[in-house]
Amino acid sequence: MIRFENVGLRYGTEAEVLRDISFTLQPGSFHFLTGASGAGKSSLLKLMYLAHRPSRGLVTLFGRDMAMVTRRDLPELRRQIGVVFQDFALLDHLSALDNVALPLRMAGTPEADVVAHCSEILRWVGLGNHLHAKPSTLSGGQKQRVAIARSVINRPRLLLADEPTGNVDDGIGMRLLYLFEELYKLGTTVVIATHNEALIRRFDHPRLHLDNGRLMVVPSRGSRANEGRAQDARANDARWE
């Protein structure tokens, strides 16, 4: 799904904000992207949702080398990626339904289908009574859910969320993470950038941890336990041999 090899990113002539990033995300996986503020989480996400191109290294997305992708090819790739932005990035002059409808309208979906699908997904995220509400009249949590609905309306292969729980209380944050968990169970590859350790601990998913621009992959507790059990078994076998 995603492969980074020795990727570096710098803005202008500044020092690199990301250094020697290498990792691979398998299709249908769920990862948390963690790290302190300023560690480069948003920059890494921007590379993943093709807002930036790397300064060096290899980025492969959906099997395609991003260095070989032309500007003309970008829309098609971007439509396969759903993004929940940290500040929601909702268009204030559009209703909740019209905000959610943007990816479908860009893809040329018939208008009747657009309205039906958007109404359905907004009901799914608990905003059935706010279809025509403008973002300015919605609370932080409601805006977040509109943003999530918009990011998944066209069934993306990859879902990226930048601090989706940053603007909501823990209760709503937990509900949002369960929402992402459901999408993951439906086969979507999910990467969630967050620094909310308390919420992360309730889910057993591997982490991509950024520290001062460098990445470390931390396996899930379950796989660590499995790995530990496998090591014990191998040691036990060796003792009997």
């Binding site: 807002a51 829309p75 971007r78 993004v83 204030d92 559009l94 990816p103």
Partner: protein, 297 residues
């Protein structure tokens, strides 16, 4: 007061842009000027055509009195000129105007004194050609048979008229080109302003998978809507102005000015002005947006 686009939903909030406040009204002004220039050119063309039709194929022969000259009397020379004319190939008819008809023609200049029998009046012959006429040969034969006879084939008048009508048409085309150029510059400015104001939204749409054409269509719909509405208002104002001028020209006692009424087909041509402006705006908006977006990531 700002002209609002008809379409209520647009991914870009272009309707609230400062540029939207003037684009519609500038288009109205340009449509007004373009319609007037076009109508003026069509009216002058019609007038020139009418004069052309009236004069083309018509000849006038004048036999002047020559008191004291050793020539035949005036009436004999006029008869001789008539004989020459009627025997000339290409001449359909030649009619000697009566003294009363000549007096009526001269009345605007000489008043009632034109009918004074003591006034030496020339003899006038109205000639209608029904085929090609050898004007130079005819002129020679006339002066030989009827001394003092002059032939006027209106060639100088017609040439002047055609030249005048051509100049008016050229001026109208120039005005239309200038209006078109102004329209293009206005749309380019409005679109670039819109792109600069809404750059974050455009970038967001790109990140969600919008193509440049999708973004461009937002601007195209916006400027076409404003252009059609502004153009319609400009056309209405031009129509009102034309009607007012038509009414005013009817009140003139002397028929110095031609009738300022347009034919139905000419109104149809004027109706195309807003459509042409909208088409120009659409093409300009598309070109500007696509060219600007090429520099975005």
């Amino acid at each position: 007061m700002a002209l609002r686009p008809v379409r209520p939903r647009s991914d870009l909030p272009l309707a609230v842009d400062p540029s939207s406040r003037f684009l519609g009204w500038i288009t109205a002004l340009m449509a007004f000027l373009a319609a007037l220039a076009l109508a003026g050119a069509m009216l002058v063309s019609d007038m020139a055509q009418r004069w052309d039709n009236g004069l083309a194929g018509g000849l006038t022969v004048q036999v002047a009195p020559m008191p004291g000259a050793p020539v035949a009397p005036l009436d004999e020379r006029a008869e001789a000129a008539l004989t020459v004319l009627r025997s000339t190939p290409g001449i359909g008819s030649a009619t000697l105007l009566s003294g009363g008809e000549i007096a009526r023609l001269l009345e605007p200049w000489l008043g009632s004194g034109a009918s004074d029998p003591l006034l030496p009046m020339p003899r006038m012959i109205d000639v209608v050609a029904d085929g090609p006429v050898d004007i130079a040969g005819l002129r020679l034969r006339l002066t030989s048979a009827a001394p003092g006879a002059t032939l006027d084939d209106h060639a100088v008048w017609l040439a002047d008229l055609r030249s005048f009508a051509g100049a008016i048409r050229l001026a109208a085309v120039g005005v239309l080109l200038l209006i078109g150029a102004a329209a293009v510059m206005t749309v380019v400015f409005a679109v670039r302003t819109g792109l600069a104001i809404h750059r974050p939204v455009v970038e967001l749409l790109h990140l969600m998978g919008a193509t440049d054409c999708y973004v461009s269509r937002q601007f195209e719909r916006h400027v076409v809507s404003l252009s059609l509405r502004g153009g319609g208002i400009g056309l209405l104002l031009a129509g009102g102005t034309m009607y007012g001028l038509h009414r005013a020209s009817q009140g003139l006692r002397a028929s110095l000015l031609p009738d300022l009424a347009l034919e139905p087909w000419q109104w149809v041509v004027l109706l195309l002005v807003p459509a042409a402006l909208a088409l120009l705006a659409l093409a300009t908006a598309r070109w500007t947006v696509l060219r600007t977006l090429e520099s975005m990531p």
